[in-house]
């Protein structure tokens, strides 16, 4: 196992290098004048375009620019992001906790709901529960996120005033900027607990409800379907029939025997889902004004903020590799046959 993990980790720098080189090269297909537009906020600045190209070395050969960028990276500097208005690493460190918090709560809900509904659907196959569960998950997959998000916002915030957009209300926002508050993790719910501020925890949770609900509704569908089909296959297995024939209660057969084996493919998917959530869910972040990494990533791409895009790609290539590795390890933990292989 440790050799397996070590082998996968050794691949990490090569994957990161390959991804960033590819992105860097593709972006160089754009002319220097187009890449210089990042530094122009108003047409009045057009006359300065040649000087801007010169100043930011945008007319240098691609290998020179890439080598400069790589040299910076090796010194721990991912460069400056014009779109974030701060160093790329600082921006990632700033945006990531918000995305991580959203991803964590969403993932927990997706996992619990997805496995529960998928299991229920399989066990109650072709009954009303199964039909309801599948239609709900299909509607979640079919309805565009921004439509669902906006509807939730209009009803639960616009009409009832319960769950506002953004990450915190004004009073909470001012409090977390004050010297009385100590940010330990960047996750506001956790930090609120660690600071002993229950009202802050409630405020942070209130703001999480709608974006988490949107993501959960949208993504649970996939997990429900995988869990359901995996459970159905497992429930048809000989050992399950044997367990039932032995007189074990249905609950025990499903929970202790079938589900554990049915979860094997679910684990792989769950790992990928979590990494996907971590890379930022742009539409949800935009609809709910959530200061996450996805929204920044899209802005950076649109405005050709090359340091941001390549830095972003570097970090998330690494996370994807690690995410897959965790999924593979978990897979091996759950299934002894994989360990033996």
């Amino acid at each position: 196992m440790s050799r397996f993990i070590a082998r996968r980790l050794l691949l990490l720098p090569f994957v990161a290098l390959g991804v960033t080189a590819l992105i860097f090269s593709l972006l160089q297909l754009l002319t220097p004048a187009m890449r210089a537009s990042l530094y122009i906020t108003d047409p009045k600045q057009l006359n300065a375009l040649p000087d801007i190209i010169r100043k930011y070395h945008l007319d240098q050969p691609v290998y020179v620019q890439y080598w400069e960028w790589l040299r910076q990276v090796l010194h721990g500097d991912l460069g400056w992001s014009e779109t974030a208005r701060e160093p790329v690493l600082t921006a990632i460190r700033g945006y990531f906790p918000a995305t991580f918090e959203l991803a964590l709560y969403s993932f927990a809900c997706i996992l619990v709901l997805g496995i529960w509904l998928g299991t229920l659907s399989a066990v109650q196959k072709d009954k009303i529960v199964d039909h309801l569960s599948r239609s709900t998950s299909i509607s979640g997959a079919s309805l565009p996120t921004f439509v669902w998000g906006l509807v939730l916002l209009m009803v639960f915030y616009g009409h009832f005033g319960w769950f506002p957009p953004g990450r915190l209300g004004l009073d909470a926002d001012l409090f977390v900027r004050s010297p009385q508050f100590h940010p330990y993790t960047g996750l506001l719910t956790i930090d609120a607990l660690l600071n002993g501020q229950w009202w802050l925890l409630w405020d942070a949770l209130r703001h999480l409800v709608l974006p988490v609900a949107t993501l959960t509704y949208f993504i649970t569908a996939t997990l429900v379907r995988i869990t359901r089909s995996s459970m159905l296959e497992t429930l048809r297995a000989d050992y399950v029939r044997t367990a039932e024939a032995k007189g074990l209660p249905r609950d025990v057969v499903v929970d202790k025997h079938a589900r554990r084996n049915a979860l094997i493919p679910v684990i792989t998917l769950a790992g990928l889902l979590f990494v996907g959530l971590l890379s930022g869910v742009v539409i949800t972040e935009t609809v709910f004004n959530w200061p996450g990494i996805g929204r920044w990533g899209v802005t950076a791409s649109q405005q050709l903020d090359i340091p941001a895009v390549t830095g972003f790609a570097l970090i998330f290539a690494g996370m994807l590799v690690l995410g897959n590795l965790c999924a593979d390890v978990l897979y091996a933990v759950v299934d002894p046959r994989i360990r033996l292989q």
Binding site: M34, S37, L38, K44, A48, P165, Q303
Partner: protein, 593 residues
């Protein structure tokens, strides 16, 4: 999961939602003022820099001026032709002798007892330093040209990347004489006060130097010339004299928080705090305004109906903006590798590089453009049709001067005369461009296409939308054919519009291959003449020239509107204040009750 566990989970979930909902409560329509000491503005652009010598975008300037940094003089409320003193004690005039008779010297007595936000006292040396810094920092595409041009006679400290300005010249241009700061102009410039009213921000020299900025000496200034965004401490730190101080600029949350300066040299502001937040999605802004969690929001014209009639919200409309939307004719198109000119010849399948150099072609387009439909569809009818680059609200604007109207017969007549009569029989084919996402320019481009093509089946115009980055490249490389770009006010003087649209060294004439020494002479004369009546006459002459020669289609001057909660008071419209939420805000005069 067992049935008991499932039921337990459901009960917990319901309980959590109930507690959260109870903790919030729904709001009724009749509600007291939310956050009475805090003004919350939701906009959709975030600042680039808080350095007053670097910032040249409205999102940045709206944060720093006039809340954090103040100017020597400023406009008298909404009236742009009248000034009031701020960091100076008196507005210079010819009558009080603070403007010399030759118009080359402006003397500003500096106010005493004014403190910066860090507690230090403002001195005339700080004012001088700030003016020199503003000029000499001169970052690419920045605002430094605004002072460089009148004081040093150049719009840049550099030529092809190399510094060409001498420090001694700059040092002579701004001097301290006792408690006065004196500006020595290169040429008389009637708009100088107008520039200073919007751009003479003051920050402390010692504080700047202590934080790695220029120390104010001749020996070091070139090292601080043309910085990158992040090179200066002032990028995200402020130290002004204004009624508000910067508490936070949170670049992740896209939020700036200003707090009241209780040691302001005038009475402290009524508001304790101002929060400016970027919220890109209109529904989120709209809902927060509706709930009272925001006091003013940015609203695009097409969305105006969604906020009109909202309970507790007022919409004030009809404020003329000092902005113009223009469709430009490129009279010297670079056809090399240019996909937008077809064959590159006047053969019915393309256009030659000098296609738009024929005034009959330009006039034909000007008569063929349906201005009414453009204003109706692009601006919901809330715009004026200009008669040239000198727009309403500026000295010299004369509504009685002629402007082009949509007239198919006249358009046909002009096209029949174009290119010695050849154009009508040959036809043409080219592509016009606009930047992706700009709905107004898209509407305008479509109008041009539909109206011109309807005149003659041999006239073909395609439309191409391209990313802003590509669009910029296209125009700078002279590859644009007929394209839309506007102009927004830097300072409310007609020279700010005449120069970029008409002078040979102006932005658009340079891009579009236009040059006329007589026009240059007129622009220069109007800029240097102190007599307003004479200036107005020259600008009328320039407007007539622009009309006769059809340098562009001057399509629209939009009007502004503001959307605010009715509990906000003290706002006034000033067309020069950088728009944060459609319009600019002077937080000092505002309150909530």
């Amino acid at each position: 999961m067992s049935v008991v566990a499932q039921r337990g989970l459901a009960v917990v979930a319901i309980a959590v939602v109930a507690v959260l909902a109870y903790g919030t409560g729904a709001r009724g329509a009749a509600e007291s003022v939310r956050n009475p000491d805090t003004l919350i503005i939701l906009t959709y652009g975030d600042p680039q820099s808080l350095d007053p010598a670097y910032a040249y975008d409205t999102a940045s300037e709206g944060v720093i001026w006039p809340g954090i940094y103040e100017t020597l003089i400023t406009y008298d409320g909404s009236v742009l032709s009248r000034y009031v003193p701020r960091l100076a004690t008196t507005v210079p005039t010819l009558q009080n002798g603070l403007i010399s008779k030759d118009g080359l010297t402006y003397t500003f007595p500096i106010r005493q007892g004014v403190h910066f936000h860090d507690g230090t006292v403002m001195t005339p040396e700080d004012v001088r330093y700030s003016m020199l810094r503003f000029m000499l920092q001169d970052r690419d595409g920045g605002p430094s040209w605004l002072l460089l041009t009148p004081l040093l006679g150049t719009d840049s400290t550099r030529t092809k990347g190399a510094v060409t300005v001498q420090y001694a010249d700059a040092a002579k241009a701004v001097t301290v004489e006792g408690q006065d700061v004196v500006f020595h102009l290169k040429h008389p410039y009637a708009a100088f006060l107008s520039i200073l009213a919007a751009w003479s921000f003051v920050l402390p020299e010692k504080w700047a130097a202590a934080h790695g900025d220029w120390d104010g000496t001749a020996a070091t200034w070139t090292k601080y010339n043309n910085p990158k965004l992040q090179d200066r401490y002032e990028f995200d730190h402020t130290n002004g004299t204004g009624p508000f101080m910067l508490q936070t600029w949170d670049r992740q949350a896209k939020e700036e928080i200003l707090v009241r300066n209780d040691h302001y040299w005038r009475a402290p502001a009524k508001l304790a705090r101002v929060v400016i937040r970027t919220v890109t999605e209109f529904p989120a802004r709209q809902l927060q305004l509706q709930r009272g969690d925001a006091d003013a929001i940015a609203v695009d014209r097409p969305d105006q109906s969604k906020v009109t009639g909202m309970a507790g919200v007022t919409v004030q409309d009809g404020y003329p903006a000092l902005v113009i939307q223009v469709f430009h004719f490129n009279q010297k198109i670079d056809v090399a590798g240019n996909p937008d000119v077809g064959s590159g010849k006047l053969d019915g399948n393309g256009i030659p590089p000098d296609f738009f150099s024929d005034v009959h072609v330009r006039r034909g387009f000007a008569y063929a453009f349906d201005y009414g439909t453009f204003i109706r569809d692009g601006y919901r009818g809330k715009a004026l049709q200009p008669n040239g680059p000198i727009i309403q609200g500026l000295l010299g604007y004369d509504p009685s001067l002629p402007k082009y109207t949509f007239d198919r017969q006249k358009a046909i007549a002009e096209f029949k005369e174009a290119w010695g009569g050849k154009l009508w029989d040959t036809g043409f084919h080219f592509t016009e461009t606009y930047n992706t996402g700009n709905a107004v320019r898209q509407i305008g481009a479509q109008i041009v296409k539909d109206d011109v093509e309807s005149l003659n089946p041999k006239f073909h115009i395609d439309i191409r939308n391209i990313q802003f980055s590509s669009f910029l490249q296209l125009t700078v490389q002279h590859k644009g054919t007929l394209y839309a770009l506007g102009w927004a006010v830097d300072y409310p003087d007609p020279d700010d519009f005449a120069q970029p649209f008409l002078a040979s060294n102006g932005q658009y004439p340079k891009q579009n291959g236009f040059s006329d020494p007589h026009v240059d002479q007129l622009v220069k004369q109007a800029a240097e003449t102190a007599d307003p009546a004479r200036r107005a006459q020259i600008y009328r002459e320039l407007t007539k020239f622009a009309y006769d020669n059809v340098l562009a289609i001057y399509a629209a001057q939009p009007t502004n509107f503001v959307v605010m909660r009715s509990w906000v008071h003290g706002w006034y419209y000033n067309a020069v204040l950088p728009p944060l939420a459609n319009v600019g805000f002077d937080f000092y005069t505002m309150s909530k009750q």
